[in-house]
Each structure stands twice: as C-alpha cells, then as structure tokens.
C-alpha cells in the first residue's frame, strides 16, 4: 500500500468507527433517558405504565404504612399541592423520614399508584433534592430557606 492509500484506510475506518459509536451512543441515550415529574405534573401528563420515570417531593406526614412483614411500604409523596401514592418493597434508605424530600424511580401503574423500584434520599436532612425543590417552587410552596450547601463526598 502506498502512504496515501494507507492514510485513506485509516481515515475511512476511523470515520466509520466514529459514526457507529455516535449512533450507538445516541440511540442508547434516547432509550435510557428517565424523566422527572412532580405529583402535580402527573395530573396533567399521561405516562404509559411501561415508561420508567422519576418522581419526587416530600413524604407526607402520617402517610407511611408498612405491611405486616415490614418490607412493603406505602406512603404519599406531595409537592404540597397534589400528592401521589407510592408503593415500595425493600429497605428504605437511612435518611428516609416523613417530611423529608425524596426521589423515587419506577413505574406509574394504571391504578394511579407509583410502584417504586428505587427510593433515593441522599444527603443530610438540611438538604433538599434539587428536583424536589423545583417541584415545590412550581407548586408555589417553596420557602426561601436556603438549604445549607451539602457535601456528598
């Protein structure tokens, strides 16, 4: 092979690889985006039962009930305007409390109950998940009490 042809092979194979990789990445991104909704958002939007979404808000005071074996929990998540029933089977994170901001990932069932496969309540109790803060702002119930800056790491 001459130098020129060799270079052509390099460039062409490089471009092909790049194109393939971009295709792969973008299609994977499209399939795996998980959108976040507040309980009020879900009043107006229709979400398919197979679509994986995130919801967030405050755990409503007094709404937490446990099944007899202690593993299945039911609670309501509220943005102080609307609230949403959530069911979760498993161990709740250490920071899960009534009144605490949480984010949950899972599916909205046809009966209107959100079946969570994951419940996230990271950070300390002065910290509000940003999604939850946004949902509260949107529902007009945000109190300008600047959350202390938290260090996750």
């Amino acid at each position: 092979m001459t130098r020129k042809r060799r270079r052509l092979v390099f460039v062409l194979s490089g471009l092909t690889a790049l194109g393939l990789a971009a295709l792969l990445i973008l299609s994977a991104l499209e399939e795996n985006l998980v959108f976040f909704y507040s309980p009020s958002d879900l009043q107006t939007k229709t979400i398919g039962a197979e679509e994986r979404i995130r919801i967030g808000g405050l755990v409503e005071e007094g709404s937490l009930t446990r099944s007899s074996d202690g593993l299945e929990v039911n609670f309501r998540v509220t943005d102080l305007r609307t609230s949403l029933a959530v069911r979760y089977r498993g161990l709740l994170p250490d920071l899960f409390r009534e009144g605490q901001g949480i984010v949950a990932e899972g599916h909205l069932q046809a009966d209107g109950v959100f079946l969570a496969s994951e419940v996230l309540a990271k950070h300390d109790e002065t910290y509000m998940p940003p999604e939850v803060a946004r949902a509260l702002k949107k529902s007009g119930h945000w109190q300008e009490d600047p959350p202390e800056e938290s260090e996750a790491e």
Partner: protein
C-alpha cells in the same frame, strides 16, 4: 494565631506561584538562563508555603479549634483522631487546599527528581504548573478560604458526615487527587512541548514516569472509592454510574489511552500530536471532574446560583486552562513533524485501536454524565441517565478492547501479520473456551453475557501466560535458563503483564458480582432462617452496642453450610447523635471466591421483625484484587530503569534529543 499563619502562608504561596509562572514560562520563551534557573527555587518556595498552610489547617482540625469556620462546620471534639485529620479534606475548602498542596508537591518533585530534565523544558513545565497553582490558590483565597474565623466560637462543631468517617473514604480523596493532579505534569509537558515545538521520543521518555505514577494513584483512588461504596452504602453494588463516580472514571480512561500512546511516541515517533491532545484531555477531564463534584453543579445546576462567585471563578479557570491549551494546540499542532507510516496491523495500530476505544468510551460516559445538565439548561425537562445507558454504550466498546488486549503485545512494531499471532494463541483460545464452558455449566444463572465476561477474562489471562512463556523460552530451553531469563526481563514488561492480568481479574470479578449475584430481602424475627446460594443464614437477633461516637444496633447472623458453622455476620445500623444521622455498616465475609454480605435495616416496631438484606456476590473480591494488580503494574513499570531515564542512554545533555528508532 496558627490559622492566621496558615492564611498568611497561603497568600505568600499565591505570590510565589505567580513568580514561578512568570519565571518559568517567560524564562523559557526569552531563553533567559537566570530566570530558567530561578524557576526551581520559586516552585520550592511555593511548596513550602502551601505545606505550612495545609499543616496549619490540619492543626486546627486536630486541636478542634472551633473558632475556625471550616472546623466548626465539619468537625467535632468527640471524633476519633483519624477522622479529625481526614476531616481536613472532608469539605469543600479543605479539599481544594489538598488539591493545591498536591499540585505543589508535584512541583517540588519535578525540582528534586527532574534534575536530569533539560533546564528549559523543566522551567516551562514549572511555569505552566505555576499558572495552575496561581489559579487554584486565588480560587481558594477569594472564594473558599478555609481559615475564616467564627466569632463567637461555638462550643463544639457540627461534626463530619458519618458516611465519611470510614478508613476507605478517608484516603480516597488524597489518592484520587494524586492521580488528577499528576496529570497536570502531562498537561504542562504538552504545553511546554507545543511552545518549544519539540515533541519526540525524548519528550515521551521524560514524561512517561509521571503519567505512570499519576495513573497508578488514580487507579487506587477510584478503587478505594468503589470499595467504600460497596461496603458502606449497603446496596451490594460497587459501581452505580453515579455522576460523581463517572467524573473520576473520565480522566482514568483518557489517562489510560495516554499511557499507551506515549509508548508509540517514544518508540516510533508516531501519534505525536494525538498524544499531546490526550495529555491535555486527561488533565482537562481531571479539572472538570474535580469541579463537577466540588462545585455541586452535578447535584444541580442551581447550586451554581447559591454561590455565584464560586461558579463564575470555576468556569473562568476551566475556560482559561482548557481553552488556552486547546487554542495553543490548534495553533501549534501542525508544526509537529509528520509521523512515519505504519501498517494498520502492527503494534502501533493495536495501540491506536486501544486509544480509539478508550476515548470513545470516555466520550460516551462524558455525554451521559453531562447530558442532563445540558438539557436542563436549555429546557424545562429534568432527566437522569442511569446505568442502562452506560452499560449499553461502555460495554460494547470495552469488551472488544479486552479481547484485543491479549493480542496487542504479540504484534511487532511497524507491520504485523495476525495469522501467526493467532497460531501462537490457540492454546489460550482453547483454555478460555474451556473456562467459559465450565462456568456456564457450573452456574445456575445461564447468562450469555457472563459466559462472554468469564471467557474474555480467561482469554486475556491465558494470553498473558503465553506471552510470558514465550519471553522466557519456557519448554524450549532448560528450566534453569528460563528462570535466568526471568531476571533479565525489563520492569516495564512485568508492569504491562501484571496490569493486563489485573484487568482480566477485574473483568471476571465484575462479571461474577453483577451477573451471578443472588439477593434476599426479608423481614426476619430472631430465630428465622434464610437459604441463599447454598448457605443457611439464621438471624439470632440484634443487640444495642455503643461505639466511640455512635450507638448501634448490631445484628447477629449465623451462616451454616450443611451442619458446619461457616461464618458469623454482624452488620450494624449506627446512629451518630452529633450529626443526628443513621448509617449502615454492612457485614461482609469473604472467601476470596465470593462475598457473603448482610445489611441490617429498620425494625418495623419494637419487638417486631427486622428488615434484612442478604447478598451472595460471587467473585466480588476479585474486583479489588484486579484493581490492586492494575495499580501495581503501573508501579512495576516505574521500577524500570529505562522508564526513569536512568538507563545507559540517560538524557543528561542540555540539547534537545531527537530519538531515532
């Protein structure tokens, strides 16, 4: 008094860094011998002052001086001494100071160990580092001063996040930063090389040990973080594709690519401008990683707004450092001499493939990590990108890489033929098929992906074995002669072998821990039993115990295999009264082939059952063994005399060397 001393030293360090930058860079450009020589002492001075500042802050933490804001906010007098010390970098201000301190350490190391570097090159490198130090020290002094005083001083501090009070995480940041900041040397070499227009074999040989060291530290740092997440978070996993984790993986991927392309520059003078770009990229990703984590931008775009000064400063620093370097690259890259041609199938071609795959993988991780931020800044949508995305993109890129890793070292430089290589590797191929088939038959979860993972790991390990056997002329010369050859093989060869074997072990560990994991979540009363992966786990109950600064419920699990007591697991749920927080302390029993992992959850009501999570993680310990081997491989390469530039051809001369391969 001591905090003021530290503050004062930090101000002096800023000036010293400025002087270092000016003397180094302008000295090299103006070819002023005095300035060039003076840049070394300037760097040492800067190191001295930053060290004083760091010690002063450490002193404040150790003596629990709560009149210092950072100490009051992140420490407490009842904390064990170890966590008082590590509390220094358990917060934004202190961790930025640690960053600056490590940058100064690398500067001092360049002065002490780089005596054989050409003076002009060393001066430009120190100059670039001086610029970085100036930016960082200014950032610390103007927006994140750790020495701010509180008046009146509180009686006690607010304590350190209990999750961080752990040996694994205590030493995670220093190692991570030793890696991140170590790439600044590569960055500085790239800038210096571009300015001088002198990038070749000698440049690569001088840079290589620094990249090796930084890369090994980064590997250890990531490993420590992952290990911590495994035993501390109690989710049974070791990697969650969390943005914070991705931020540390990005420079590692780029750094790994850099490590391999440097070899091509050193041996063949090819891929020069690509290598320079990688050096700039690796450090840029380290900078982005640091700031993504530290600025809180990843938690939310809005936290930028909570302290606009910090956000703007960070963006400015990133723009100047990365933008400036890339602009210089764009202007000067074409002055680098064109590479000698090489065949696509050759050692160079193999290393290029490694680079393409690694860089593409890091691009996909970068996109997945930052896409939610981008989307949020242009629209109302709030999204998250989870593990499925990263698994779908990173795996198809990294698995072929593991396959090719076994073949690459067999290829000669310049031009190679694949067929004879496969002929030499037929035994390895056979062995890997046998291992994969055995694993498939043995395990109940018939996952084809596990078959692929274990097969690839065996393939790579066996390929390494063949490589070593060929180098030793095993079975072709008497055993004594083979062993004799063992001692003549260079350290960098062993380094490569050990690091690549580490990858094989890591791949096997990841495969086992993710695809063969069994999990049981139960509510257990004392006396209840659970069957998991052939073990019988009986819950004997939980008791209240007291630690140095926490109270805990400690569960007692008796693991039986058949009639024999196999292990006792005592997971804890700890309560830290100072911070008013609960943490989970998983109990892990390892057999080196698998981990038994127990987490104690909440008790639904007094006298009621306890929520319990149990895992059996086959091959999970191999993840940490593999990571250690990878870092050890980097260390072994460093012991190679040739790598440290102390070989017979040691570059002691002042004139730029043009290597001829």
């Amino acid at each position: 008094m001591i905090p003021e001393l530290g503050h004062y030293a930090l101000v002096l360090a800023l000036f010293a860094a400025g002087v270092q930058a000016i003397l180094g860079l302008l000295g090299a450009i103006r070819k002023d011998a005095y300035w060039i020589l003076a840049s070394g002492p300037a760097a040492s001075t800067q190191f001295l002052f930053v060290a004083i500042a760091f010690l002063a802050l450490t002193h404040a933490f150790v003596t629990s001086d709560f009149s210092v804001y950072t100490v009051a906010k992140y420490s407490h007098s009842a904390k064990p001494l170890l966590y008082k010390i590590t509390g220094v970098w358990g917060n934004h201000e202190g961790s930025m100071l640690l960053w600056a301190f490590i940058l100064a350490i690398y500067g001092q190391l360049l002065v002490s160990l780089g005596k054989k570097l050409p003076h002009k090159l060393r001066a430009s490198v120190l100059g670039v580092q001086g610029c970085l130090s100036t930016g960082f020290l200014a950032f610390i002094l103007f927006t994140s001063n750790p020495f701010l005083r509180l008046d009146p001083a509180p009686m006690n501090g607010q304590g350190l996040n209990p999750l961080l009070q752990d040996p694994g995480l205590a030493f995670h940041p220093p190692f991570l930063y030793l890696g991140y900041v170590g790439f600044s040397v590569a960055f500085a070499f790239a800038i210096a090389g571009l300015i001088e227009g002198d990038i070749g074999a000698a440049w690569a040989r001088r840079l290589r040990p620094w990249v090796l060291a930084a890369w090994s530290f980064l590997t250890l740092g990531i490993g420590l973080g992952s290990w911590w997440a495994y035993y501390e978070l109690g989710w049974g996993g070791f990697w969650f594709w969390d943005p914070v984790e991705n931020a540390s993986l990005l420079p590692w991927l780029a750094g790994t690519a850099l490590l391999h392309s440097i070899g091509v520059v050193e041996k063949r003078e090819a891929l020069k401008s690509w290598t320079v770009l990688l050096a700039i990229l690796a450090f840029s990703l380290s900078l982005i990683g640091t700031f993504l984590v530290r600025s809180g931008v990843l938690v939310s775009v809005h936290s930028f707004a909570t302290d606009p000064a910090r956000g703007v400063f960070i963006l400015g620093l990133l723009a100047v450092a990365i933008g400036g370097a890339l602009a210089l690259y764009a202007a000067r890259a074409q002055t680098l001499k064109a590479a000698p041609a090489f065949n696509p199938v050759s050692r160079e071609g193999g290393l290029l493939l490694n680079n393409v795959l690694l860089v593409t993988a890091s691009a996909s991780v970068f996109l997945g990590t930052l896409y939610p931020l981008l989307l949020e800044s242009v629209s109302e949508d709030k999204v998250s990108v989870g593990p499925p995305f990263f698994n779908a993109t990173a795996l198809p890129l990294l698995l072929p890489l593991v396959f090719a890793m076994a073949i690459g070292p067999f290829l000669p430089w310049k031009k190679a033929d694949l067929f004879p290589v496969f002929q030499r590797l037929w035994l390895a191929g056979l062995a890997s098929l046998a291992v994969a088939a055995g694993a498939f038959a043995f395990h109940t979860g018939k996952s084809p992906l596990a078959l692929l993972g274990i097969g690839l790991a065996a393939w790579l390990l066996a390929g390494n074995g063949v490589l070593l056997a060929e180098r030793l002329k095993l079975f072709r010369t008497p055993l004594g002669a083979s062993l004799g050859r063992l001692r003549t093989l260079p350290g960098s060869f062993f380094g490569m072998l050990v690091a690549h074997s580490g990858i094989a072990v890591l791949v096997a560990g990841i495969t086992g821990a993710t695809l063969w994991q069994s999990e049981e979540i139960r509510a257990l009363n004392p006396g209840d039993s659970v069957a998991l992966a052939g073990y019988d786990i009986r819950f004997a109950g939980a008791t209240r115990v007291a630690g140095p600064n926490y109270l805990a419920d400690r569960g007692d699990f008796r693991v039986h295999r058949g009639d024999r007591l196999f292990a006792t697991l005592t997971p804890e749920r700890r309560y830290y009264p100072v911070e008013k927080r609960w943490t989970t302390e998983a109990a892990i029993h390892t057999t080196w082939m698998a981990d038994l992992y127990a987490v104690l959850g909440e008790q639904a009501e007094a006298g009621g059952p306890w929520a319990v999570r149990l895992y059996h993680n086959p091959l999970a310990p191999w993840i940490w063994i593999g990571t250690l081997l990878i870092a050890l491989g980097g260390g072994l390469s460093l012991t190679d005399r040739r790598v440290r530039g102390k070989g017979p051809k040691g570059p002691t001369d002042q004139k730029p060397q043009i290597g001829k391969a």
